[in-house]
């Protein structure tokens, strides 16, 4: 009986290894293209946030369930990762003087900026802006 189970385990191991071989080949081929740095689009904001402890974060992408939407939570958490120790607040961004606005559409950016009565402190690439609501 034990021999039967050992044989099954051996067979399953061989199957598992052969199922993984396309993945291994893909991995070796893609070694030239490692994972992009996390939060790269926000890194240019760092010098402007060195004296700031908290800021709001707005992503203009519409979503029925933003907390489960990786297209919203992903950039937000990437921004939090790369800009720490600044605390970014996604849920109450209007409560802060400094706000990071991520929006690829410049018209929508203008609408949001006017609503917040904010000026642009830094206009970065990939639709990322740092807004200042202070005087």
């Amino acid at each position: 009986m034990k021999f039967i189970f050992f044989s099954i385990l051996l067979f399953v191991s061989v199957l598992n290894f052969s199922a993984q071989s396309p993945g291994i080949l893909w991995l070796i081929r893609s070694l030239a293209y490692p994972q992009a740095p996390v939060g790269a689009r926000f890194i240019s904001l760092r010098p402007y946030l060195s004296h700031i402890s908290t800021a709001g974060y707005i992503n203009c992408r519409p979503s029925a369930n933003p907390e489960r939407d990786t297209a919203i939570m992903g950039p937000y958490q990437q921004a939090q990762f790369i800009l720490s120790p600044v605390i970014l607040d996604y849920y109450h961004p209007q409560d802060y003087r400094y706000i990071i606005l991520q929006c690829p559409n410049s018209d929508v950016q203008d609408v949001i900026r006017k609503k917040l009565s904010a000026r642009i402190l830094f206009d970065g690439p990939n639709g990322v802006q740092l807004l200042d609501r202070g005087k």
Partner: protein, 422 residues
């Protein structure tokens, strides 16, 4: 540091090679945490100074006051076989890890985020509890990363990568070397090969998640408990307690796993008059590490304002929730990433009951696996979070932490003789 500490507790054996990284990094994480509390910031000179002083003291004690134990004995070709297996696994782990230098989502969004924040925030490190990524899980992994960055002097991606590779390979190495003490060598190596063949093992191991730490510490704690029951001694009890504490400090789930294992082993020890005296050193071992977890949780509770896990009691009696959980469990049994592990393991445990029912040690570990799994199903049913999402993101990680221990149990049952005592 792990090497010298382990030598103080007992003569080294083959499996201790792979206990050393866990013990060393675990102790270093504790030193980083307490230095953070004492200096109110990460102080690399202090951390390096404490480590060098500790190393020097341990070296002196080992060199001049400790009797040298007998050398570890390997059979012909055994060491070579283990080295080859681990070199191949290490190479695969390194390839995957360096391809994803920031790890998977939770690797950078949670674990490395905490390390980043504390490293950069100076004396304002407590503000990490105010972030939306609340510091709910214990900080063993971030403290290990901070330890590496203290020596490196910067927040390099290399440190978390190397830590993930160390634990992925050490877990496999420990599985083989620990099994070698109970089953024929070919069986032990086969267990390592089978673990390596499971697609999800190295993938999650190199994701820079705490799951690989928890999997490693649950396996090591379980084997040390078996060892304790086989060769009872105060040092063995303390060592088992330490690794239970490390399991608890890896993740919140680890606290539950360590508590369950502790209760099972203490009730087992309490049943035998001669073994009752081992409960205290075991408890001391757990407490030594749990203190840091309690301190961290206190900071979290003070900053968040409350520490109640919301429980949705009616969920326990909701048949729709149980149906969803049942579907998830059933589908997970035959899911490709697990490589048919679950149905085979369940079949082995069921068919060969005679091989383990009379052996207190392995029965204890099997009970732990079963109780822990079903306890978590109840937690899922009673959670206030959206159940489908929760199962999608966390169920496979729950199972992952049990994989090495389950494979140990499976190959123990298949390889050990029926007249074996433990």
């Amino acid at each position: 540091m792990g090497y010298y500490l382990l030598r103080i507790m007992r003569p080294l054996r083959a499996m201790d090679i792979f206990l050393i990284p866990g013990l060393g990094l675990g102790v270093s994480a504790q030193i980083v945490f307490y230095s953070l509390l004492f200096f109110n910031r990460i102080s690399p000179p202090a951390i390096i100074g404490i480590h060098l002083t500790g190393l020097l003291c341990l070296w002196i004690y080992n060199q001049y006051f400790l009797k040298k134990g007998p050398p570890t004995v390997w059979g012909p070709g055994q060491l070579g076989a283990v080295v080859v297996l681990l070199a191949v696994a290490g190479l695969a782990a390194a390839l995957l890890a360096f391809h994803r230098p920031y790890g998977d989502w939770d690797g950078w969004a949670y674990w490395n985020f905490h390390a980043n924040f504390i490293f950069r925030a100076g004396s304002h490190w407590q503000r990490v509890f105010a972030s939306s990524m609340q510091g709910r899980h214990p900080w063993m992994l971030p403290c290990m990363v901070l330890w590496g960055w203290s020596f490196d002097g910067r927040e390099s991606t290399l440190v978390p990568i190397v830590i993930s590779i160390i634990f992925t390979v050490s877990c496999m190495g420990f599985l083989v070397c620990a099994l070698k003490e109970y089953v024929p060598f070919y069986c032990a190596v086969f267990a390592g090969v089978f673990l390596f063949s499971i697609p999800i093992y190295i993938l999650v191991g190199t994701s820079q998640y705490a799951e690989i730490l928890m999997a490693y510490f649950i396996l090591t704690a379980s084997v040390l408990i078996l060892d304790l029951l086989r060769h009872p001694s105060r040092n063995a009890a303390f060592l088992a307690g330490l690794f239970l504490g490390f399991a608890a400090s890896s993740k919140d789930n680890g606290i539950m796993a360590a508590a369950l294992l502790s209760i099972l082993v203490m009730s087992c020890l309490a049943r035998t008059t001669g073994s009752r005296k081992l409960i205290r050193p075991l408890a001391w071992g757990v407490t030594t590490i749990m203190v840091s977890v309690l301190i961290m949780k206190s900071f979290d509770a003070l900053n968040v304002g409350n520490y109640a896990y919301d429980i949705f009691w009616p969920g326990l009696w909701n048949p729709q929730r149980w149906s969803l959980i049942g579907d998830c469990v059933w589908n997970g049994l035959f899911d490709k990433p697990w490589g048919m592990l679950w149905p085979i393991a369940c079949a082995v445990i069921w068919v060969f009951q005679r091989n383990w029912r009379e052996k207190e040690g392995i029965t204890l570990v099997i009970k732990f696996l079963i109780f822990y799994f079903f306890l978590y199903l109840f937690i899922y049913a009673a959670s206030i979070l959206e159940l489908k999402w929760l199962l999608d993101v966390s169920y496979y990680r729950l199972l992952y932490t049990l994989v090495p221990t389950l494979i140990f149990v499976m190959f123990y049952i298949l390889g050990s003789r029926e007249d074996e005592r433990v």
